[in-house]
């Protein structure tokens, strides 16, 4: 998408999210649909938008519940978006809710809709179990049986093993290694020490806990109540560790390479449950309805790189492209929000951005993309501290960034995420 100045712009009116919570903790009994409805219902109420003005709802989801494969439609109907408003679900691994946002941007720019709600929800706690292939076949055979014997005999034919359930997990099928192993590989390739990684994780926790103390997240966090008891309002992300230290982080064993590894549970993002949603509008529509947008989408870009060798490096490609499209440089950017899947991934990306060699070799440009100013990077911490609610993380990054930008003078903000499969995405936001 290139975007000449005279064309219309897409405004971000508001963004909200539930607190993120480590999977299997407080949202244990909920579904992604529950969390998505909370986010969208609250977004509609807080923005006071007439639901009839919403032209579409796009939601991202990584591990969809088998009961709500098109979660977007159910979220829309459950949140009071009128029946006649179309809704669809997108999936692009960890970039899913960014994909939802850019799809919304496209439909606004194309004139298909004036206002779109985009977001994502994830509740790994609601994960699915599968039966083995053999068990599923015998199950179907049994279901088709005309009489009792036909129904029962296939089950016996199969033997005892294979009846048990199998947790549905996502392998990196074409990478030959998991994202964790890729992080290990990147760490050794870019010579990122264990201490360096733990140090970055510590930074994430202390920045996040400072932001929380300062009430930075209050704009974006929904006071969330959990059925059936609705006991107390959940108002904080529960994986931020204000007491994190190099010692506690240093004590953790490596996860993927037990002998020589440096990637631990401490310096990678914990998997979380949560939902986030943003309201996007054409600039004219926002003006007509009297909204004061928090920011505008300036440009965005997707990238994809070899999942085997560069599984986590693709944001670098996306950032370079998005900056070019926005006709700005990294130096013009006031704030960067990058998804922290692993300390090693963030650090290697930062190194690659400032590397002339990487620029020449991989990006085919003479100069490095630019130096990241750590004073402007993930200033409220990142996914390592807050948790990574897969399908909701992208919308969280955008939400956090727009409220942060609104509090500062700078003109531009940048969001970047790597996603499984070697995918990457970056969005440039601007004010006014």
């Amino acid at each position: 998408m290139s975007q000449p100045d005279n064309r219309k712009r897409v405004a971000i009116i508001s963004g909200l999210r539930t607190p993120f919570a480590r999977s299997g903790t407080i949202y244990r009994d909920l579904t992604p649909l529950d969390l998505g409805k909370i986010a969208v219902t609250e977004l509609v109420n807080r923005t006071e938008i007439d639901p009839a003005d919403v032209g579409a709802l796009v939601f991202g989801s990584v591990m969809p519940s088998v009961r709500t494969p098109n979660i977007a439609r159910d979220v829309a109907l459950g949140s009071g978006i009128p029946d006649r408003v179309p809704a669809f679900t997108v999936s692009s691994s960890c970039a899913s809710s960014v994909q939802a946002i850019t799809n919304a941007v496209d439909s606004i720019l194309s004139g298909a809709a004036d206002a779109v709600i985009a977001g994502g929800a994830e509740c790994i706690s609601d994960g699915s179990y599968l039966f083995s292939t053999a068990r599923r076949h015998t199950g179907l055979e049994s279901a088709k049986g005309k009489n009792l014997i036909d129904k029962v005999s296939p089950l016996f034919r199969m033997g005892a093993s294979g009846h048990g359930p199998v947790l549905a997990v996502m392998p990196e099928r074409y990478a030959g290694l998991t994202t964790g192993e890729a992080a290990e590989k990147t760490a050794s390739e870019y010579k990122i020490s264990r201490a360096e990684q733990d140090g970055f994780a510590l930074r994430s926790h202390s920045f996040a806990s400072r932001a929380e103390d300062e009430g930075i997240f209050e704009d974006e966090i929904i006071h969330t109540f959990i059925p059936p008891h609705f006991k107390e309002a959940i108002i904080k992300d529960n994986s931020i560790d204000e007491n994190a230290s190099m010692d506690t982080l240093g004590d953790l064993p490596p996860l993927f390479d037990r002998e020589f590894g440096t990637v631990t549970a401490g310096n990678s993002a914990p998997i979380a449950d949560g939902a986030a949603a943003v309201l996007l509008m054409s600039e004219e529509k926002a003006r007509a309805l009297g909204y004061k947008p928090l920011a505008y989408i300036k440009s965005y870009a997707y990238s994809a790189s070899n999942p085997d060798s560069e599984l986590l490096m693709s944001p670098v490609y996306a950032i370079a492209k998005a900056l070019d499209r926005a006709k700005i440089t990294l130096g013009d950017v006031d704030l960067v929000e990058m998804h922290e899947a692993f300390s090693a991934q963030v650090i290697s990306s930062i190194k690659a951005l400032s590397s002339k060699g990487f620029a020449k070799e991989k990006l085919g440009r003479p100069q490095a993309v630019g130096e990241i100013d750590m004073e402007r990077f993930n200033v409220s911490g990142g996914s390592i501290a807050l948790g990574h609610a897969l399908g909701a993380t992208g919308a969280r990054l955008v939400t956090t960034l727009v409220y942060r930008m609104a509090r500062r003078k700078g003109q531009f903000g940048l969001v970047a995420l790597p996603a499984a499969g070697g995918l990457g995405v970056s969005i440039v936001l601007e004010k006014e």
Binding site: E42, N45, R46, E48, G78, F225, F230, E232
Partner: protein
Amino acid sequence: MTTKEREQTTGSLSYTVDSDGIATLVVHTPGSVVNRLRHEDYLAMEELLDKIDKDLDMLESDDEIRAVVIVSDKDWSFISGADAGEYLEFTLADEGRSYSLRAQEVSERIEASRAPFVAAVNGACLGVGLELIIACKYRIGSNGRGVELGLNQLENGLIPCAGGMPRLARLVGTKETIDMILTGEPLDAEYARQAGLLDEIVPPELLRETARKRALELSAKELKPRRFRFGGVANALLKENPVSRKMSFDKAKKDIRENGGLHLTASRMAVEALEIGVASFNRGLHVESVYFGELAVTSYAKQLIRTAVAIDGVRNDSRFSKTAGKAAKKPSKLAVAGGEPFGPGIACLAAESGIRVRLKAKDDATVGKSLKECYDYFMGKASGREEDSIHAERKFDLISAASDYSGFRRADIIIESAGEDPEVKRRILTDVEALPGGNFVYVSNSYAVPVSNISGGSKNPAKVIGMRMSGSVSDSDLIEISIGEGTSPETVSETFELVKLLGRTPLVVKDKAGSYLTRVELAYFAEALQLLGEGVGAQDIEDAMVQFGFPEGPLSAMDDVGLDVVKQGAVAIYGHSPEYAKPRAMLDQMVSEGKTGVRSGTGFYRYHRDEKRLDRSVSRLLSLHEDDTDGISQEYIQDRLVLALVNEAMSCLEEEVIESARDGDVGAVLGLGFPAYRGGPFRYVDTVGTGDVLKKLHNLSVRYGTRYSPPVSLKNTAVGGGRFYED
């Protein structure tokens, strides 16, 4: 239906006959409001039966009609019962009896008809409606929501009169039939199918088509309804032998004898007629018609019917109802300010009716509590079935809550329900009126704060109106709407329709120093406290009023409302009047001890789990001397309390707080639990006689004070031997 060869129309019924000789008989009472799941508007039974009768005569003489399909043109009502208003015309038992005989005859002829009858039930099928379809050869129900089948004649102090009882027993079994008659609880489609009452359930879109197909098959003798009688083989063997039947009947009779309760005579007669009918069908019909005739001319049944008619009149009052029988347009969003006790209740009612609600509570803790209350309301009603819990979840999804006014701007109607402090109430009004772009009707819900006290500070008093819910929201059938100074007629209509959408009966009153219900209820409560203070035992007071026909005694009712609320009401309405000094002091004492009623777990009663017991410590707390009052009769207690209530009701009529005696009666019956078979305070005065009431009031006022002084209008009425009602 492709061809339409003939069309016959008579009143509620018309039919068309297609080329296959299948007649479609449409029930479509013109101009009648039959609301979903309610049957407050009865179809004209006599008319219907006459017409079916006459039509059937025509049908049977016409050899081209091979089968009849009965359908309704209304989404929510198949046949909701009889227009009981007609029974009021009966002066002799024989009139009722002959009415019953005709209904029985129609049923019998449907059952025996050469052309098989098929009923396609799509909504409420109650009372005589159910009796008629039981006589059909085949019954299909739609699986849409709103299908309910029941015998509810007992509600009017009557019994089924069209031969439906013994027929139902054959179909579903004796025990189930007894339950259906005595509880009046209707069955849903699925349950009715399992019980054997429906032969088949189909989606609403296929209902008529399927019914027609079955009619063809029946007439061609291709379909024989496979039907176990008596609710299935097992049931028949186990329960339909003489011993089991006798046990069922004995148990029913014992229950009636021991539990007493409402509609005692009718319950007894229904069970007796059924018992005879199960043994000998024709003799049962005979007994049924005799009993029906006798019951229909009792003042008990007549008063119940009059009350039902009056309620209907209030619900469809043409001064306020602008929808002319059609469903009102739903507000797209309702906002409720105020957490417990009323906020969540109102939210649930609205969500139940499909209206989206935004609730504002004062802090997160209250938001959580409110959401839990709503959640429990819907989930508690859902059975274990997944479709039920999804349905409940969809309703609950309509409610969201926060501790600020976010989401209020889009509301069409805002209901403030923040208690009894006028200052707080005015502040909320100012706050929401300050929200940019809001355009809403503002309803202030309160027990005793007059709406004009609130609307004074409004930017737009035309859109401000008062409301009063009684007891707990989910229990009350009536919601009082009070017109304040400056409230516009449009606002009244809009609120009136909202209350109807919420499934409640709206009663419009003018707010003059307290609404009608509050004034009347407080007069009643205050008198109970006076009696208590005079040394009358708490249990005696409670017993006397339950005996009179109230569902609970006044002390128990005060606990329900909350003694803190009652106290605030008393202060607002009686101020420092010395006549009420004693009740006020007693309320003060109770409240200061934290004994505020059900919500605090202790008031005049102690509440423990599901039990409640009169609290003995109250008499010490209030320094009561119960031993002074031996020999006080129940009648005396009733007179004191009822006449205090009635006198206040008459004052309200005189001051034009209420528009008519009818409004006052309906309000007292639905809003205060005044016994329906006594018709309400004004009917009660008419029954006792205006002259006698005047005399009693006069005597009481001499002894106890001006609160018993009869209003001038009563004196005038009584002089001429007049009454409040003509009939």
